[in-house]
Symmetry: C2
Subunit: 141 residues, 2 copies
Amino acid sequence: MADQEIETADALVQLAHLVQRVFAEVSRDHGLTPQQAQMLCRLHPGPVRMAELSRALHLEKSSLTGLVDRVEARGLVSRRRDAGDRRACQVELTADGALAAGACHMEVSARLEALVDELPTGRRATLLSGVSEILRRAGGD
Amino acid sequence: MADQEIETADALVQLAHLVQRVFAEVSRDHGLTPQQAQMLCRLHPGPVRMAELSRALHLEKSSLTGLVDRVEARGLVSRRRDAGDRRACQVELTADGALAAGACHMEVSARLEALVDELPTGRRATLLSGVSEILRRAGGD
DNA sequence: TAATTTAATTCGTAGTGCGAACTGTTGTCA
DNA sequence: TGACAACAGTTCGCACTACGAATTAAATTA
């Protein structure tokens, strides 16, 4: 039992590395770092405040400032002063940024689905539901 | 179907982030970066050549040099000249390094298993076998 | 109005990761 | 054997990541 559990953890760690590698390769193909691509994807639904983005990406505010700076310099994102609170600003995708975000998301999805699709349908569904449940339970962190 | 597949990829990406975060927190508790901890774990079974370590960690040789330098400076690892090939060197854990590697591996395992253990037994087994199969098929990359 | 809290930035520091250029060492083959 | 290609690691310069402490300015609260 103990041995099996050790393998469980190793399997999750290896899976995480695999996903990360896919993400990194796709990002690189678009001239982005994984962090930049991740931020663009997170911004796709709509503008987000720095503070909220910082929480979503698990980054200190000071780290986020630089990340947004670099992506803004590439013209993929812009800061818009918040109307209601003049301290704050909303980060939003530019047209180019939206394209890049869409492309990255699509390619990452395609490559990950390709991996999962090789499993028999039943096992695939169980895998997904298991992962979802883990995320749900750990979501509050 | 398409929507479900998009969610599949998102779930994997989120799972990867979760695993990464656990790994990063545990590493930090031991005064290490995730990369350093990962290297120590990879070295636990025994000494490894730079070139092979570079392949295992998916790093360029030049990146690995610095990583090993920093961990060696902390006294967790040492370079030993290879007897058979005077160009090469074996990287091996020191006593301190073995302790750190063991502790990190144990804590990461415990925390990941805690997540998975909340699932019903049957679903847990299917999840694991699915992950293993994905890794097996993607392993050649 | 004064004091506190909040949003974001700046600055310094340590670490990561790449590619190109370089130093030795080993192997090859003419 | 002697030139030369292939290989193991390192060095260097660069861009990026991430943190925490200190700072500025705006909003809130007392």
